[in-house]
């Protein structure tokens, strides 16, 4: 017993190392997938507040670009206004239209923390469950698809960016509606992604637009990127191709969280079918 104690005190560095290392690895493996709530992330009170303050400083530097974006989007929206069309009939009917029901709702949020240079990238925004954001909602910016919400606190939410090795979204070619899915590539390049499993008869062309399919969290037709090269090696029934992303992830300022109002109903129905 005495010898054992002497042995342990002599090599105490090694035993302490084993204890602490096992402890941190347990934390890493247990909480890394965000399946369980933990306070060690950027949506807690201290880190969230600090990030908000610092991003308040940064945003002054980007006011010009944000203004440009907003002005452009305003012009686009103004083009769709009823008042900007010339009405050539004099008769007017008033109809209460019951056909349309709003399916998608957009919540604007500011990015307060973002990264593009790691193998799993997350974005923190300054809106949380108090503003109606819930886990699993899709996130877009005015340029295209950004990611999905994976963790929500009262005032903040964490987004798993498209630049994440577990991110996968349903996508299609804009022209002939051939379905595939989009994934980040292996080289950690924040401007590129891979469109996978497109049917062989799609005949894609370089520069063709890739958009969301409407099967997943996003409305159909949100841009993702453009085809930049065709990987010709696969001879099977399915094609893969490289896509240049339309969103500049390193310069995200404002994003929109998409609330699909029928998502719950759809999920419930699809779960029922499987039984």
């Amino acid at each position: 017993m005495r010898n054992l104690l002497i042995f342990i005190t002599k090599y105490n560095a090694f035993f302490l190392f084993v204890i602490f290392e096992v402890f941190s690895l347990v934390i890493y493996i247990k909480y890394n997938s965000f399946q369980k709530a933990t306070f060690i992330n950027s949506s807690n009170k201290v880190t969230g507040d600090l990030y908000t303050r610092v991003s308040g400083l940064y945003e002054y530097l980007k006011l010009r670009e944000v203004n440009d974006h907003l002005a452009r989007q305003n012009a686009e929206l103004r083009n769709q206004l009823k008042s900007s069309f010339y009405v050539d009939t004099l008769k007017k009917h008033k109809i209460t239209d019951t056909i349309y029901k709003q399916q998608y709702e957009y919540i604007v949020a500011k990015v307060i923390n973002n990264s593009v240079n790691r193998s799993n990238n997350y974005i923190t925004i300054d809106r949380g469950s108090k503003e109606g954001i819930a886990k699993g909602m899709g996130v877009i910016s005015d340029q295209g698809v950004v990611g999905k919400v994976i963790y929500v606190s009262d005032h903040f939410a964490i987004i798993q960016s498209l630049l994440h090795k577990d991110s996968q979204f349903s996508a299609m070619l804009a022209k002939n509606k051939e379905i595939g899915y989009i994934e980040w590539n292996d080289h950690l390049d924040p401007h590129m992604a891979v469109l996978k499993d497109v049917s062989n008869n799609a005949q894609p062309k370089l520069g063709e637009l890739v958009v969301t399919s409407g099967y997943s969290l996003f409305p159909a037709g949100i841009p993702i990127g453009k085809i930049s090269s065709l990987q010709t090696k696969s001879g099977g029934f399915l094609l893969n191709m490289d896509v240049k992303l339309s969103v500049d992830f390193s310069d995200l300022q404002y994003v929109y969280v998409v609330n699909n109002k029928f998502a719950k109903e759809q999920a419930a129905l699809e779960a029922q079918k499987k039984e």
């Binding site: 602490f20 690895l25 890493y28 909480y31 060690i40 992330n41 880190t47 240079n117 193998s119 923190t124």
Partner: protein
């Protein structure tokens, strides 16, 4: 004693802030990301007890994790770093020299020793960190490139900060 605690506390806060709000945004060619915060563990006094060293390494790692959204990842790498530090110091420094040399800084230990010390420890830390993060052997070549380039960047920043706080009178 109190002065040492105070200096290390300030160093901790400054390094964490620098890492989280400045260096986190820096990447060169998708290859080189500096992790300067480990300088805190490198510069702890020689006489720090092993228990305290591991506890501090763990706290530093978990603080960085809280900002990086990777619970446990940096903590694991920092604990490994603390262990390598103990081994490296026990091999290269004589025990009776501790009275005159309180901290392993650049101005006390000299460029040659400090450079080797920083390079070896940084390589261990970065290699473990990047591999644990990716958990994937298929891109080994790219991974090793990332480790080496990032380690060089980190060591460069460490030497810079060492020269910035260089005190000539301490050197005998």
């Amino acid at each position: 004693m109190i002065k040492a605690v105070f200096v290390n506390l300030v160093r901790f806060v400054v390094l964490v802030f620098l890492q989280v709000f400045l260096l986190k945004n820096i990447t060169l060619y998708n290859l080189s990301t500096p992790y300067l915060y480990i300088l805190f563990i490198l510069l702890l006094p020689f006489e720090t007890p092993n228990v305290l060293l591991f506890v501090l390494a763990f706290i530093l790692g978990i603080t960085i994790d809280a900002f990086y959204d990777t619970p446990g990842l940096h903590a694991a790498a920092c604990v490994l770093l603390a262990f390598v530090r103990i081994l490296f110091i026990s091999i290269t420094v004589q025990k009776d020299g501790f009275d005159n040399e309180p901290e392993p800084t650049l101005s006390i230990m000299g460029l040659r020793w400090f450079f080797t010390y920083a390079l070896v420890l940084t390589l261990f830390h970065h290699f473990f960190l990047f591999n644990l993060e990716a958990f994937n052997i298929s891109e080994l070549q790219y991974m090793i490139g990332r480790v080496i380039m990032s380690a060089l960047f980190t060591v460069f920043l460490m030497l810079m900060s060492g020269l910035l706080f260089f005190r000539r009178k301490e050197r005998k």
